[in-house]
């Protein structure tokens, strides 16, 4: 039996999540013996045609061309796994969703007419079926290896969707909110990073997006108590997984939050 074909694709993103694959320094050459790395432009100019057994997709959909491209990638992939906040939730570039993208275009580019862009930055799942979403900005090395290993073994990846708080407790870190009154998104953020921020004395800033069960009405009063006004709170929730947290917010504000904010800003 020939080795399974692994492909890595990039859409709108920073390259950090696919770099995480190259950051598996101890495992990289072993992995290359287990799978055929058939398409990974950041690492190799040798490109094998599809179909691919496992495609890892980094980046969000922000151009009409990429909207078409992700459908081609899906058609060529037996399993499609999104890696990172861009591919899974639209990424930092989804901040355009709350603003006027035409104004953005004029602000950044001297010749805006050359820039082809959509008004939104959407996750891959808004366009095609996705077999698994690996969260994080960036993704965690260990979880990436778990996803690839699980695929090779034909089982489900063991990536729990509980909050960062669980990882903090497991690590034995003192709660930064309880002990120091530091605003922290840990209670509503998807685990997977190993609770790094609280271990470094700062509050979690939500780069893994919402966890499986999010209770924002309980968290927001704590953020207020610890000195964040409405604007700070909004900025805190709207960074690398802005649309995912906005969707959580709208669950509690009668579905209007996202739209109102959009009108307000534009």
């Amino acid at each position: 039996m020939s080795a399974p074909k692994l492909a890595v694709f990039k859409l709108a993103s920073c390259d950090g999540c696919q770099l995480t694959l190259l950051d598996c320094e101890d495992e990289l050459l072993t992995l290359a013996g287990q799978v055929e790395i058939a398409h990974f432009l950041e690492a190799s100019s040798a490109v094998e045609p599809g179909p691919y057994d496992l495609s890892l997709v980094e980046g969000s959909i922000t151009t009409p061309a990429d909207a078409a491209r992700i459908r081609e990638i899906r058609a060529q992939s037996r399993r499609l796994v999104t890696i990172g906040a861009c591919a899974t939730a639209g990424g930092i570039q989804a901040l355009r969703d709350f603003a006027d993208v035409e104004e953005f275009r004029r602000t950044v580019y001297a010749r805006p007419e050359y820039v082809d862009t959509l008004a939104t930055s959407t996750p891959v799942s808004a366009h095609v079926d996705v077999d698994f979403e690996l969260r994080g900005c960036p993704i965690d090395r260990g979880r990436l290896l778990e996803v690839i290993t699980a695929h090779l073994a034909g089982r489900k990846p063991d990536v729990p969707d509980h909050s960062v708080c669980f990882e903090c407790k497991r690590r034995g870190t003192v709660c930064v909110t309880v002990a120091h009154g530091t605003p922290c998104l840990g209670p509503v953020t998807h685990a997977g990073c190993g609770a790094i921020c609280p271990a470094y004395g700062r509050g979690c800033y939500g780069c893994f997006g919402p966890s499986g069960s999010v209770n924002l009405p309980a968290l927001i009063p704590l953020l207020r108590r610890d000195g964040m006004d409405e604007r700070d709170t909004e900025r805190f929730l709207r960074t690398f997984n802005a649309t995912a947290f906005a969707a959580e917010q709208s669950k509690h504000t009668g579905n209007g939050e996202h739209t109102e904010s959009r009108e307000h800003r534009s």
Binding site: C14, D15, D23, L28, L29, A32, D66, T107, Y114, V115
Partner: protein, 457 residues
Amino acid sequence: MSHRGSRVLKVASLARVEGEGALHLRVDGDVVREARLSIYEPPRFFEAFLRGRAYTEPPDITARVCGICPVAYQMSACAAIEDACGVTVDRPLRELRRLLYCGEWIESHALHIHLLHAPDFFGCAGAVDLARTQRAAVERGLRLKQAGNAVLDLLGGRAVHPVNVRIGGFYRTPAPFELRPLAERLRRAADDARETVRWAAGFDFPDASVDADFLALAAPGTYAVEEGTPTALRPDGARTAFPVRAFLDHVREEQVPHSTALHARLDGRRHLTGPLARFAISGHALSPTALEAAREAGLATPGQDSVCRNPYRSVLVRAVEVVYAVEEALRIIDAYEPPPRPYVPVPPAEGTGHGATEAPRGLLYHRYRLDGEGTVTDVRLVPPTAQNQGAIEDDLRRAAQSALAGQALSDDGLTHLCERVIRNHDPCISCSAHFLDLTIDRTRHQGRGPCPTARTS
């Protein structure tokens, strides 16, 4: 295929570069009419959505411009915002920042040297292919890369998008005992780094020379990394410097004749940032060990009359910079005493601030305007690849022209040559795209299906 007649070469998807780019070469008879490095990395609008954010946020947010050099973005952002607020960070904290930055240089350079650039010298498609004949070298490269990542992991919390950087310093500074295992690892890395210089010195380097002005930071008595004065070195040896706050007076986007593309120019001239520029401008300030390694590798002694302008040899300069960065990291760790405070308080102030640091691939400039409450009102980011684009294209034009003047070269051969020329400069296209001109060629997008191949048309 004959050289006669017109032909257009396109490589739809460049491999072994960070980000998404394509190259476009128009050849008329034996004359190269146009060489263009196109960037189709989708725009992400950082400068636009940073407006309205708190002045404490740009280090975390701009890190996401580039997953390969997030520390560079964090450091330039901190420098610019601290400048706007009129705060100077304590010396020990600046040393820790330099240590973090050394980690990124080691990681990024080891990646480029062994995994992205070296395969070109062995005719391989990538590192996995290269490992079949050069396993020890690839393993050494991965070890070095891992040593760089270990610095980032410890001091930054993680290798990609570190979490421990804040305006004014760090959230938490390490205890000396935490640095000890890191020092052990770096001592092993020092041997690996020297070995990599020797290995790269044995590569076969084609003749080539860039004639662009060099631009790099310079700092008294040291090889500038996290701070310094922008300094230009012209091919005739003329050296000029200007303060960071005057950066945008000197480095401007200009319309290039016969092209819709805008390029950054230094005082109206084509310029290049990155390892060749740094080595020419600050090489004399390298450590004795790094200078010895450079000499062994056959690099012209910096400060003497001869300046290395061969972009293929940039791999040697990167290797020497790894030797230096490992040594610097060890020096900082050996002298380390925990600073009295992890960060200097930076109260918000109305004003404009400028920051420039040396990203692994060249000078990275940030400018922020803040209102009195600390809200960001205006941002400019000038990444190295955007500055280098003009010089890279000129390199492409020259390389293609001399290849055509020589022996018959197939389209495939010419394409391969052009890809090598681009990779010499370690372009980070994810970085440049958010502000650069984009010329979207619709035909090129058709080549971006799930299985695009480097091909000619």
